[in-house]
């Protein structure tokens, strides 16, 4: 699986692609854990290209959100495709994670960008 990272101010945008399943979830989990361990606290996961997620993939979102909360950090998930959003709703994640329809709105969750 391909994982792209982009920093905007103190927010880190992580973009993942295609299939988040039992084979690819461990890669995603390792990366997110490493990012949190190195001090990233404001994370946006851009799921615009994710077509499929199973429970192994869902677990990674939950794990990262749980890890960030006591550290004063936050995980925002954005641009979910219709079928993946349905899965997030089904598993109750829309109640415990901030889900934004677009990347722009995800960034806005962390407040206005600091003036240059």
């Amino acid at each position: 699986m391909e994982i792209q990272e982009e920093k905007q101010g103190d927010i880190l945008i992580v973009k993942i692609d295609d299939h988040l399943d039992t084979s690819t979830a461990p890669v995603f989990e390792q990366r997110l854990t490493a990012l949190i361990d190195r001090g990233e606290r404001k994370l946006v996961i851009d799921c615009g290209s994710v077509q499929y997620v199973n429970s192994a993939g869902l677990k990674v979102f939950l794990l990262a959100a749980k890890k960030l909360e006591p550290l004063g950090g936050r995980l925002v998930v954005c641009s979910l495709t219709q079928s993946v959003l349905m899965i997030f709703e089904m598993i109750g994640f829309t109640r415990i994670m901030k889900i934004a329809p677009t990347l722009e709105e995800a960034l806005r969750v962390f407040g206005p960008a600091p003036a240059a």
Binding site: H19, N54, I91
Partner: protein, 139 residues
């Protein structure tokens, strides 16, 4: 949806899930299974077969899991059959979806998805086999 059936043998290796999903998709398209139904069935089968592969056998190498799918007018029925240890995943406690983030448990997500995506889920131990059957009506 057209009447039909298929039996897919899957080696007990998580890498096989992708092939399983491909075959299920092909079967579904051939039998005019609505795409939303197909998505749900594929995800449910992924969860169930992965569960068997990871936890069902003392030694997974050389084992196989059989997936049997049939379609009729208004219902798709699929069974996951394995020779592993007796195990009923439906006995797992349901996750508490109302729990706050700090109390949310990591386990039980897969089987909760299966229950939510399907209209009916049942487990049976037949001889030395586990048989997990899922049903999805087409509306």
């Amino acid at each position: 949806m057209h009447e039909g059936s298929i039996i897919i043998q899957v080696a007990a290796d998580v890498k096989e899930i992708e092939r399983l999903n491909k075959l299920v998709r092909q079967f579904g398209e051939l039998h005019d299974v609505p795409s939303r139904t197909l998505y749900a069935v594929n995800l449910a089968l992924d969860e169930l077969v992965t569960n068997v592969i990871l936890y069902g056998f003392k030694e997974a190498a050389g084992q196989t899991v059989s997936v049997q799918i049939s379609t009729a007018d208004s219902e798709l029925v699929a069974a996951v059959v394995d020779d592993g240890q007796e195990f009923n995943p439906l006995e797992a406690p349901a996750p508490d979806l109302n729990a706050p983030l700090e109390d949310r448990k990591l386990g039980g997500l897969g089987i909760h998805l299966v229950r939510s995506l399907m209209d009916h889920v049942s487990y049976e131990r037949t001889g030395s086999q586990n048989v997990l059957t899922i049903r999805k009506r087409i509306r």
